[in-house]
Symmetry: C2
Subunit: 409 residues, 2 copies
């Protein structure tokens, strides 16, 4: 079994904050002395069906705790999803139906167990303890929090100042998920940096319920493939956990070099020793960034599909992108660029696509662009890229889906 | 049966606000057409054991609705009392125990039925519908209110600005009592002026629950016997509903003349016709204020104890105050007034009382004054009357309790 110092080094790797760190050491020491695993909580609201590498960051951290011998309590927030986590939101979430929540929960669990060790995971749904709570119970819980403490959070404060409505039920969210910690007697709770307030509310409620309070451990948000925004479906810069191996491989290869260390740390199963070596080799210039990125892509694909799939994905990648597998016989079409310019001197791509019969209508063209299905010289256009400079189009291969190619003359 | 116009005149008499008045007319018209009584709600949290004439003001108004043929739904807030109405509060109320709530509820009901017609009263406890509410129900209800709407109330706004804590559960109060209106399908809800926010929350929740919304009717706060502050136990200016008839009579006789019209309107069962006559006679100077006050005192005592008790109380009052039943043999003590003056040129009465052996100590003297047990020429001193002008004392009979008299020379 690993020493407390070794465990501390592993579980702190890549974390943003551990509050308070001293208590984590004490808990790990006691756990080792008594042979009792710590209970590591992650609460997830199944509000979206598909997970991406960003969602997998805390799952990876949970796995590290498991590899140190601890128990993960994965809480499916089937009840809290009905409220909707207001963290970082500027508007009230639309409520989900029970059916949506259940369907999302199912895919979430399938995907989460690609990372977690099922033998060391306790899977719970928070409707189990939240749904039976009556009004009197809720009064007892809410009386432990002050309004000021709840509305001081950035997201609420901002909405109040901007006079955007906050629904009263949203104030119950932090308290409901805090009660999860009480119900499962958590030792450590994980979350993204945007979850710190919620995690500390759990700590506070446990203390006020005369329990040993949990430790809050936050993980940084993974930056998306664009190298700028956090990974998110809405920015179309994500790598889905259910992406095909070849897609996943290709998307990892498209990230900027500077993201490699954080991807190794947050998204792979590489050991701390390996990661330190990689970081050192990048710093002293001894590493070949392209080769390293290839290794990163292999590590990530292998994690979700196994080594064989990773090798196959690499081969496929080489065929398409390295050997250049675009059709040899792409037609070229000469465009009257001046005729395509709007008042702002830009080309409205959806209209051009419709005119070139690469899409059946402007509307379809917009949907294709937003869905990432339109590429220029093999690079997918970001969502909402409707108005483009003619210089960015002329001479390039416009690709729609897997089969339609046209060189813009 | 009274016409809608007559009913409107009666129920509007003495009210502060009816929101909205047009809807009240429509409801009364429909009630008359269909022969269905309106449901008039009053919610009371049994947070204190004893009622006074101030509490009786809305009860009197309910009785007028009953006399017009409508049904009163008196809600004992046994559940909401556990939260505590934050209206007008600058601190969180200390929670009451179930036993205290039940004991207070019992005395409240006994006293309320001195005013209400039991045959036209539906007595309910709000634990009946609030206690079974689960977390999911509460989410549905709270989602209908915005945080801004709740914290804009004066009392919350003030506490937030002054950084005084508001407990999260206090935000649930307006919503819980609003749900009472939904549960009992109220047509009109009564309250003091400080309740307007709560009454309108009820109106809002009914509307958002696709029900015909209730009308909010507020009654002014009754001014206490001092003629300055609202009637309240803490100002020691109240007339309790369980005060002995003679006490009640005497206290009414002690109010300033200017309060008579509002007392006739808010605290007696006089008809609107009588009240108008009284007001006219006061205005044109044809009334004898002393006689009128005597009638007021009789009306009020008769309301709670019957006509006979009222007559007896008047006789007793005459014996003591009119015929002057003070002992004939009161000793006179010459005081060295200059020796009693403090820096401000005032006499510190507690010290004088102790010196004259009318009290065992300054502290006891203060307590006697605060308790209303010290009189000058038969008039009880208000609480905290410690420093007095010597001219207000010289030549008067100082009376402590029922037996100690001394003429101050």
């Amino acid at each position: 079994m690993l020493s407390v110092d070794e465990q501390l080094e592993i579980v702190q790797s890549g974390t943003e904050q551990v509050v308070p760190l001293d208590d984590l050491r004490r808990k790990l020491e006691r756990s080792q002395k008594t042979g009792t695993p710590l209970r590591i909580k992650l609460g997830v609201d199944p509000t979206a069906p598909d997970l991406h590498l960003g969602h997998a960051v805390p799952l990876r951290k949970l796995r590290q705790f498991q590899d140190c011998g601890h128990t993960v309590v994965l809480i499916i927030g089937d009840f809290t999803a009905l409220i909707g986590d207001p963290s970082g939101r500027s508007v009230t979430r639309p409520p989900l139906t029970l059916e949506e929540v259940e369907a999302n929960a199912k895919t979430y669990i399938d995907q989460a167990f690609k990372v977690l060790d099922p033998d060391k995971t306790e899977l719970r749904r928070n409707s189990e303890w939240l749904s039976p709570l009556g009004f009197a119970d809720l009064l007892a819980i809410t009386s432990k929090f002050t309004v000021a403490r709840i509305i001081e959070r950035d997201d609420f404060d901002k909405r109040l100042k901007e006079q955007k409505p906050i629904s009263l039920h949203e104030l119950l969210y932090p308290m409901a998920q805090a009660y999860d910690s009480v119900a499962i007697e958590s030792d450590v709770e994980l979350g993204g940096t945007d979850q710190l307030f919620n995690l500390l509310a759990g700590r506070e409620l446990m203390e006020k319920s005369d329990m040993e309070p949990q430790i809050a451990l936050t993980m940084p948000l993974l930056v998306g493939t664009d190298g700028v925004q956090k990974m998110s479906k809405s920015f179309n810069n994500y790598i889905g956990l259910t992406d095909e191996p070849a897609d996943m491989f290709g998307k990892v290869m498209s990230i900027p070099d500077k993201l490699m260390p954080s991807y190794f740390r947050l998204a792979t199963a590489c050991s701390l020793g390996e990661i330190k070596q990689i970081e050192a080799s990048l710093e002293d210039g001894s590493a070949h960034p392209g080769k390293l990125k290839r290794r990163l892509a292999c590590e990530i694909v292998a994690l979700y599909y196994g080594d064989e799939a990773a090798t196959a994905a690499e081969t496929a990648f080489d065929r398409v992108f390295k050997e250049g597998s675009m059709p040899k016989d792409i037609k070229e079409k000469t465009i009257d660029w001046n005729g395509e310019l709007n008042d702002a001197g830009k080309v409205f791509l959806p209209a051009l696509m419709a005119k070139l019969q690469m899409a059946s209508s402007n509307g379809e063209a917009r949907r294709l662009i937003d869905g990432g299905g339109v590429k220029l010289d093999g690079q997918a256009l970001p969502a909402k890229s409707y108005e483009l400079d003619p210089l960015d189009l002329k001479g390039k291969v416009l690709q729609v889906g897997k089969r339609k190619y046209l060189k813009l003359g």
